[in-house]
Each structure stands twice: as structure tokens, then as C-alpha cells.
Symmetry: C2
Subunit: 566 residues, 2 copies
């Protein structure tokens, strides 16, 4: 809180002047004592001025409803929602989320500091508090991504009050082996929180990783893993995203063993707008925790105070004088049913319409698909002899390496029997560098499907059964500057433009979820297996840390051997 | 931890190089999970390099003894021990205290920034980590003290890594009423912890005080008071000092009510070396908490992790990689019997003799008693008509105002029947300003007793039954530049020199406790009541915030009326 705000609030706090708004007869959910108690909450200029007995210019009877601190998503890639921070905030606020720690790892991979700037600017319009992590691993390894985000690039952001952490240190092998680059970045942000990402790291290697200065971990998959990491000093983030569901395993074990939950918090990491709309956001983590037997007040504490403490979020995470009036009103503590949400002292149910931030079509963030004319020649598979095939494992992002005889005609691969051509086109530097491979497991697609979301370099990735449709799909994504597209028989069937970095949209008029559903339907109509989401699968097919085979603009990559194949 | 330290420790952490010292078979007291578990602790260059299975150049079998983080005194005025930080550290380390947050309020009242500098310098030699609060209320009110410590004076210290908080905001009425001076000081240290001091403050006034930005409170006298302050967002410091004993009342209530203890920590505030030697330090708080029924691991957490978190003490408060190897080895968790203490990786039992810091007799900190020749005329009581008498209330620092006929001869007060003359002499500015009053309750002293410890201005205060002895006592304390003295029949019976600011000693050859005991004996021999510690009582007789009458160099002060009497 600013000094001038304190001066304005003090007479209200002392009870000498009525507060702008007083919530009468609230059952305060007190994260400090882990109990509830009845009181009035005096709110003024977006802050809590006092808790106790207060008079207000406007008084609203809470009728003994529970009033708890707003929920905090401690680690989220907003890009995964496929919406801007502004649109994302409109989706999560009704679910009680009033603050998030966002790691703009994806957009910064595409646009570097410019991506960081876009997020900082866009989030100023958000309905919630958006705090930031500075992505630590851009690029990841030898990725041909759009930009580098070095310690030098980070420096101008370090003092920004919204920057609260170094983004997940994904190169955990580099870190524990003393990578100068990572240690320097950690040093630069040593007064903030350092986020970790070290799935399955254990023993003395885990100790070394901790010693580097890493504070949090959101990649635990089991209670055993979480307990070891907790003991070594990591905060444990219980993740419930669209794909990753780690809360039950870890929290179930934690409750059963009776350990302290002081260092546990909640996050979503990656969650689509669609899943948020259907399932909820951090309120879903709370509900799940309560279902597992956790005391609801404690669950709310994990969702608010614990996250605020781990990231030192200012004036956030409790119902007390001087804290932001970011509150959730609950009907009860059994179902955690949200009655209303208060952000900066304003009820969500009474919020005026919030206009979207102004759109500047010339902003370079909307022009990130830089591809020259691609030729049929470039889509030719280099070798058709025992070429290793990337075979999807259903419902996983892992792939299996298969050695299958490649169907061919005149020495060229002719997709059939579930074998499709996959290509990755470098889209950041106009080089048009393209690599081609063979994939299996998508079904008998007739046509082409392409996307510019392909972790972490986010080059253009495309699958198809014929070169003409594949080339058209590339042209279509150049036209809209990124997104999803489906092409068949020389015609574009449907395109979802994702204009911000080719990763997500800030266009409020775009029916995002509806379009995605339509496109999935079309994919399945033109031959994709019913239970496969081709866009999701494609988005991980370039991520060279997931076994066993990947494809990037540089070729087909063997993750176990850590090398490109011919 | 510095970057270079990390680089040196990483190979040890990874287990590639043996650690300098490994504690084998330790039962780690884990403050994160609030459980214990068996492991080796690898220590190198003063830090914990790893926890798990490790080999060391030197291995010591802990034989399943408990190893817990070093204890932290979250709020202490080291001056109250009457010893320097260096001497104090030698007293508390064997009791498991490895870090303290010291508020040098007394010395800064005498010497301003020079006092701060002395403490920072002296504490570099201490055997423990000494962190600091910057005193916020110097002078307190209109005190004629030795120096002012304004926001401007504080500024050079704000970035010092050892400075972790703003010292207790004792002027709580000023703060809650929006004192510019205090709000500015809070603003200056807003990235650090703001210490509170607001006995009995409640309701909306307490909310206003919290809103100013105050974080902690160590003045709670009951569980009810502590619970209200906890709910409003204060950390609650459970104090066990020489005089104040608040732990049982508060913690007893807290345990009974089942509230969370996440925001509770331990402190001593003021504790003499003598009490420390007899009773212990923070280990005493732990033992008392365990006796009240608190889980020992939880009690240790309050004594370590909780304090470290509240004050953001770097690399402190847990047994995990990257933390300082500040550890306590316990024989058991029932009696909390300390087997040994490890500071920065060195066992206390094996520590080499630590030389005291060098003494520079010309340092102005040793020359703070600035008094011209005082005359008999100055010790004359201005009026002998119904003069209000400061009457001690036994075993309390409160006084009662009594209106007693003053015994007189030739229009001058002649001490007798338990009525003594009291005088306060300004000792900071050579003005020699002196005020005289009448006290009761010390007994039938024959002679004079004087001290330069008199909160908070620390002028020279003296009682006696004749002016000659009183004048000699003043001269004696000028000679030694501060301390305690006893004079009778024109002779100095005994003097305790307290050369640092006239408040404490840094002379290791001085038998401090022994001298104090001798002097108390002498006091009682020359007429002081048996159960009165005259030095203690004198040290509070100038503190104008304690009811009902006080005496300063400006006169006799009525605390209720907040004015000086004739």
C-alpha cells in the first residue's frame, strides 16, 4: 500500500469516518489462526481498512456467509488458456481467483522481451492481480525459437513490483551441474522466489539443485517425491491443470501421514479456458482437497496465504487491515460454493463491463510467423529406408519409436495405413528451414492439420497425407499470423487465428472454445482418431525433453540419445 | 549464499567430493514437514551441502540424536544483558541460539548512528548471526536523550544485509494517528519487517496501527490480546525475559483453542546475562512450550523457521541444502537437553578460544557521560510544600503518586523515614541540567546509588539521603564514563563501569554478574529494602510512558496528565 493510501485510510480504520463499504456480519475465514470468527469488514479504496465493528456509507449484510481471501494460482502459463491475461482474468475471477503468478515462457520463446512487455501491458487491464515470473530457460537447449531471454535481457524487469520470481528452472541438469547462465539468473533474482521444475530428481542431485537457490517445485507426481522435495526445502505446488492432475496423489499422502501443509500451495500450470469454464480454477483445487478430507479453512489457506507468502505478494492472502479487498464470499465451507467474489472492493456481480485493451494491428507481437514460400521439394522425406516413425502413445504426450517399412512410390513416401507426413517449419527468421518425418497414431487423416503452438520453440508444425494441403496450411497460418488450421482437398476447412505470437488470442469477439470444438469435430470427420486431440499432440511433438522421438525444424530427434537422426 | 560459495559446494552436494564434515545417523528435526527422519547431514564451508546419504572427510556418528535448526531470538535488546554483542553471543550460543534480531534502541538513544555503527562492528566478532532492527523511536517523545535517529539517519543502513527490520514502533498512538515521521520510517523499511509495540491496543485503533504497516507484536500479556492481534495480521512473539513472562498465558490459551501457531515465534526482549546463565535463552522458551503440551518439533519450529520467515533471515531456520550449518544437537525431544551446538559447521564444544574485539579507548562510544561540575545548589528541591512523591510499587515498575508532608529543616528537604532524594542529571550535552524529586519505597538508604542506565534517554539517575554522597556518585560515574556506583560517607563503596555508552560492557575481564551481585548486597547492607533491586527500579524511573509519576532531567512528570509538575 502506498503512503498516501495509508494516510487516506487511517481515519476510516480508526472508525472516525464511515468506510465506503462495510460487509456486516461476515464469518471471516482467518488464515492466521485457521479458524473463523464473526466480524464486520470495512473496505475503502480497494483495501481492507478494518475488521471488527464498523459503519459504512454502504453496508451489505453477509448473513453469516464465509468471507475468505481471494484465491491465488501460484504458477500458470496464461498462454495455455489460449487467451490473453485480460480474457483469462475474466474467466477465472468468477471462480474466486484474484491473483496469479504467470510465467510467460511461451510468448517469450516467440518474442523475447517484447513478449514480456506485451504481458505486462495487457495485464494492466486484467480484472485480477497478475504477478510475473521471468522465464529462465529461453531458449530451452538448442531450440530454434524466436528469441533469447538472457540475464541481461531480464535485468530491466527485476525491479518491477509485479515480477515476483524467476520462472521454472527447467534445465535442472544444467542447474545442479552449476551452469553459469542459470546461476547468474538465480543471482539476479535472489531477492525473489526461484521456481523449480525437476520431475523425478532425487537424492544428492536434488540437494545440488536446491543448493542453487531453487525454492519451489510443481512437478511432483507422487507423495513420495513430494515428501523428499519438501524435506529438502522446496515449496510444493499441488497442480491441477487440463492435463496434469497431481493433487490427489500428493495431498492424499500428505493428509494420511499428518505432515504440516505450511509449504504446500495450489497451481494450475496449464489449463484451457474450456476446462476452467467447466471445472473451475483454484476453487477446483480447494474442492478436491476438501473432498480428500482437508479442513476447508486449511485448504483456503493453501489457496491464499501460503501462495502469498511463498511469492511475497504484497498485501495479499488474508482478511486483515491493509490487505487488498480481494475476497471470496462462500455459501458454506462444505461445498465451497461461491456466492460472489470481491476484487479491490468491487463485487463481481456488480462489476461494470470492462472494455478489452485497445488493439494495435501494427504491434510486432501480432506478426510472428516469418516464413518464406515453402516448396514441395522441402516437404520431401530425405530417406525412405527404415526411417524411424514417431508413434503416439494414446492419452500420453510420450511417443514410441517404431521402425516400420515406409510406403513409397517413385522413391517418395506416400502416406497411408495411418502413417502421415509430419513437418516442422522454422517460423521465426524467414529461413524457412524445414524438417520432415513420419508419424503414426493420429489415424487415417485425409488433408492437413497445422499449428504454430509447438513447445517450446513454437515453430509451425503440420501433419498431412499430401503435400498440397500441407503447403496450403502453411500459407493459411502465414495469412492469419499463427493459430490452428485444417485443410482438405485444396480448401481451408477452418482456421482459428491466434494472433498474439501465434499462441493465443486477445480478440474478445472470437468464440474461442466453440471454434476449438468445431475444429476437433472436423479433424475427426476427416480421419483423425476419435480420442486424439491432434492440436494437443502436435504441440508437444517438438519438445525435445519428452521421450522418445521428437521432430523440430532441425530434424527427427532421439531424446534418449540426445541427438538428431539422419 | 554467495554465487562463489554455491559453485564451491555443488560438487559436494552432488556427492562427487566428500564433504568436510558429515553428521552420520542424525534424526533430522524437519520444520517443513514437522516430522523427524533419519539421514546424514553433509556440511562444508559453514553450510549444509546435502541431506541424505553422504561421505565426509570427517564423519561423526550422531547415534540417532536429534539435529535441529539453531534457535532464533526474534527480538532482543542486547544492551539489557549489560554485555556487548560479542560477550552476549558467548553466553547464548551454548543454549542453542545461533541468530538474534537485535534492536539497539538503548545505545542509539545515547549515541545515535555512532551506536548503530558500534553494534554492527562489534557483532562482526560475535559467535552467532546478529541481525538488526533500526530503532524507530529515538528520542521517545520529548526525552532529552543523547541523539536523534531520524529517517535520514537510518537511510545509510537500510541496504545492509544485516538490517532486517524497523525497530519496535513504540509510539503506537502517533502511528495510528498517522505520524508523518513514523510513516516515513515505515516507508523507508517497507521491504523489511516492521516491529510493533502496542500493549493493550485493541479494536479499531489496533486496525489503524496494523494498517500503518506494522508486522509484529511482542507486548501481548494475555491470550485474548494475542488472538485479536493475530487475527489482525500481527506475528505474535512469545516473550520470556528477565522481567516479562508472557509465554505461558498466551501459548496455554493458543494450545487449548487449537489455533494455528504458524505466526508465533519466540523472543526474550530483555534478559540479563545472569538469567541466561541460570535459566537459558530461547531453549528456555522451547522447554516451557513443551511443558505446556506443545509438540517439541513444533516448538522448535517456532524457535527457528517461524522467526526466520517473519524476518526473512537468509539461509536460516531449517536443516536443508543451502542453509547455514547452524544446528543444535539434542539428546531427546522430551527434556530438550542440548548435547552440543554447531555454528557455521563448527561444534561449540570444539570451538577455539575467540578473542574479544580490539578495544580503542579513544572511540567516542566510551565517552558518553558529559556532565559539568554539579553543585549542591542544583540538588536542592525547589519546593517542599506538598510535593508529590514517587512511590515504588513492590515488584513492579509502576509507581504510585503520594502526597506526603516533606520532612524539612531550614526550608530544605531532609531525607528520612524512607523518603529519599532523587535526581536526574542530563549527561549528554554538558548542560548539567538537573531535576530533583522525592522517592519512597527503596528503604532507609544511607548514602547514594547512581546509574547511567535510565530508559530511554539514559541520563544519570541517582538517589540518596545526602547531597555530598550524591555529588560524589555523579563524579564517580563521570570518572568511569557510566555504569553503577554506590557511595557512602564520602567514599565510593563499589563501582561497575559500563563503558559502552554508559549502558553495558565489552570488557571480557570484568566479572559482570559477580560485581552486580556484590553491589546488590552492598545496597541492602546500606539500607535498601531486601526485595528491591535499586538499579532495576532506577532504570525505569525516567521512562515517561509508565504510570504514574516519573522523573527526568526536566522535572517530575505526571504520566496520566502528560505534563511536568512544578
Amino acid at each position: 500500500m502506498l503512503l498516501t493510501q495509508k494516510q487516506a485510510l487511517l481515519p476510516i480504520s480508526r472508525g472516525e469516518i464511515p468506510a465506503g463499504l462495510v460487509l456486516k456480519n461476515a464469518q471471516v475465514v482467518d488464515v492466521f489462526s485457521e479458524q473463523t470468527y464473526k466480524a464486520d469488514i470495512a473496505i475503502h479504496q480497494g483495501y481492507i481498512a478494518g475488521v471488527g465493528v464498523y459503519k459504512g456509507e454502504r453496508e451489505i449484510d453477509m448473513q453469516n456467509r464465509y468471507v475468505c481471501p481471494g484465491f491465488i494460482d501460484a504458477h500458470v502459463h496464461i498462454e495455455s488458456s489460449m487467451a490473453s491475461a485480460f480474457l483469462f482474468s475474466k474467466a477465472v475471477l468468477p471462480h474466486g481467483t484474484t491473483s496469479v503468478v504467470a510465467d510467460p515462457h511461451e510468448l517469450v520463446n516467440v518474442a523475447g522481451a517484447r513478449g514480456m512487455d506485451y504481458f505486462l501491458r495487457d495485464s494492466e487491464h486484467a480484472l485480477i492481480n497478475v504477478y510475473f515470473s521471468l522465464p529462465s530457460c529461453v531458449p530451452l537447449g538448442d531450440d530454434h525459437n524466436g528469441a533469447t531471454f538472457s540475464a541481461k535481457d531480464m535485468a530491466p524487469y527485476v525491479e518491477d513490483r509485479r515480477v515476483v520470481s524467476l520462472g521454472e528452472v527447467m534445465d535442472f541438469l544444467g542447474a545442479k551441474n552449476g551452469s553459469q547462465d542459470l546461476l547468474q539468473k538465480i543471482e539476479l533474482l535472489k531477492h525473489k522466489t526461484i521456481d523449480g521444475h525437476a520431475p523425478s530428481l532425487t537424492g544428492s542431485d536434488l540437494c545440488a539443485y536446491k543448493l542453487c537457490g531453487v525454492d519451489t517445485e510443481h512437478e511432483c507426481a507422487s507423495f513420495t517425491e513430494a515428501l523428499e522435495k519438501l524435506r529438502r526445502g522446496f515449496y510444493i505446488l499441488l497442480r491441477e491443470g487440463s492435463a496434469a492432475h497431481n493433487l490427489e496423489d500428493i495431498l492424499g499422502g500428505a493428509i494420511a501421514s499428518g505432515i504440516s501443509l505450511d509449504r504446500f500451495l495450489f497451481c494450475t500450470d496449464d489449463k484451457h479456458l474450456d476446462s476452467i469454464a467447466q471445472q473451475g480454477h483454484i476453487d477446483y483445487n480447494i474442492k478436491l482437497a476438501v473432498k480428500l478430507g482437508l479442513n476447508p479453512v486449511k485448504a483456503i489457506k493453501l489457496a491464499s496465504y501460503n501462495a502469498s507468502r511463498a511469492y511475497n505478494l504484497p498485501d495479499t492472502g488474508a482478511v486483515a487491515p491493509g490487505y487488498k479487498a480481494d475476497l471470496v464470499v462462500l455459501d458454506d465451507l462444505e461445498t465451497i460454493k461461491i456466492h460472489d467474489v470481491i476484487k479491490s472492493g468491487v463485487f463481481y456481480s456488480q462489476m461494470p463491463a470492462c472494455p478489452a485493451p485497445q488493439y494495435d494491428p501494427n504491434d510486432p507481437i501480432y506478426h510472428t510467423v516469418h516464413i518464406p514460400q515453402i516448396t514441395k521439394e522441402q516437404l520431401k522425406l530425405k530417406s525412405v529406408n527404415i526411417f524411424p516413425v514417431l508413434s503416439l502413445i494414446p492419452h500420453q504426450i510420450l511417443t514410441r519409436r517404431e521402425s516400420i517399412a515406409i510406403p513409397q512410390q517413385n522413391g517418395e513416401f506416400t502416406p497411408k495405413n495411418g502413417l502421415l507426413k509430419a513437418a516442422v517449419v522454422q517460423r521465426h527468421d524467414f529461413s524457412g528451414q524445414t524438417a520432415v518425418g513420419v508419424v503414426k497414431g493420429f489415424g487415417n487423416l485425409h488433408g492437413a492439420i497445422a499449428t504454430t503452438i509447438a513447445h517450446d520453440a513454437h515453430n509451425l508444425i503440420i501433419i498431412g497425407d499430401n503435400d498440397e494441403d500441407m503447403l496450403l496450411a502453411i500459407e493459411e497460418l502465414k495469412r492469419v499470423q499463427g493459430g490452428y488450421t485444417i485443410v482438405q482437398n485444396g480448401a481451408v476447412l477452418k482456421t482459428l487465428p491466434l494472433r498474439v505470437g501465434g499462441l493465443f488470442t486477445d480478440d474478445e469477439t472470437l468464440p474461442l472454445s466453440q471454434t476449438i470444438h468445431q475444429m476437433l469435430d472436423i479433424c475427426h470427420q476427416i480421419g483423425v482418431e476419435k480420442d486424439i486431440d491432434p492440436f494437443q499432440n502436435l504441440s508437444f511433438l517438438s519438445l525435445c525433453v519428452i521421450p522418445s522421438l521428437r521432430i523440430t525444424d532441425q530434424g527427427v530427434f532421439d531424446v534418449e540419445q540426445q541427438r538428431y537422426l539422419l
